[in-house]
Amino acid sequence: MFDSFTNFFSGIIPLEAYMVVSLIMFFSGVYGFLSRKSLLMILISIELILNSIDINFAVFNRYLYPENMEGFFFALFTIAISACETAVAIAIVINIYRNLGNVEVDSLNELKEDAPEN
């Protein structure tokens, strides 16, 4: 019993430990995505999900293929893509706020605004 406790604090950090951290982050993101109604909260949940995937890429690269750089670059490109995605999503959210006055999902029941008479 005591041995396993000291093993807990010595030796290498196991691969599973990193994956459990990323698992908790991923599924709290899934919970937020399914349960919240504010568009910004949904966006925050998506960020959590993307970030947990980044951890997995980096950890697999470091532990299983330490001499290669594939996971490293995947994480790098994923960060760039998520930055791009967040910028566009926040532009959409601000546009929705301008048209509807709030950012709740429930009030979004039509996509196209009425065409202005011209």
Binding site: E16, M25, S28, G29, F73, A80, I90
Partner: protein, 168 residues
């Protein structure tokens, strides 16, 4: 020893704050908890020896994306606004679904990882090597992906301006 303790501290920070970020009642607090999660993730990269990834995570995520979030929250919420709480049924369903999913994935992780890996000491990638890999066209080099990302970012800029502009 020190590494393990740092890892467990970071793991606790990430777990607690990511759950708090999705269950908080105020958007601005959620964004702050998300910032803590992102910074702790950067700490994990540092622990893995990827200092470049640490710098990118801190600059792009914790710097850029969080500023975007804070601005969007301040533009769309009045100060002190609380989100109207969701129905118990919706929340319960989401909790059940995510707990079941987490248990399923956890079982898969723990029954499939054979403990054959060893953490070999690896000198950290120097920035020159990273840059040459990013700009090379050979095998395991990423010039094409780099250019595609740059086009994606350009499209993102144009799209964001188009969507968010005021219509006259």
């Amino acid at each position: 020893m020190a590494q393990q303790i740092i890892f467990y501290i970071l793991a606790v920070i990430i777990s607690v704050f990511s759950i708090m970020a999705v269950s908080s009642g105020r958007l601005i607090r959620s964004a702050t908890y998300l910032l803590f999660v992102l910074l702790a993730t950067a700490g994990l990269y540092l622990l893995l020896g990827y200092t470049y990834l640490f710098a990118v995570q801190t600059a792009v995520y914790a710097g850029g994306i969080m500023v975007l979030f804070i601005f969007a929250i301040l533009l769309t919420q009045k100060p002190g606004d609380r989100i109207t709480p969701e129905s118990i049924r919706q929340r319960g369903l989401a909790i059940v679904l995510s707990v079941v999913g987490a248990l399923f994935s956890g079982v898969i992780i723990f029954s499939n990882i054979k403990k054959v890996y060893t953490l070999v000491d690896q000198p950290e990638f120097d920035t020159k090597h990273i840059g040459l890999t990013l700009m090379g066209t050979g095998k395991f080099q990423y010039l094409l992906a780099f250019e595609v990302i740059s086009i994606l970012l350009l499209a993102g800029i144009v799209g964001a301006i188009m969507i968010a502009r005021k219509r006259s």
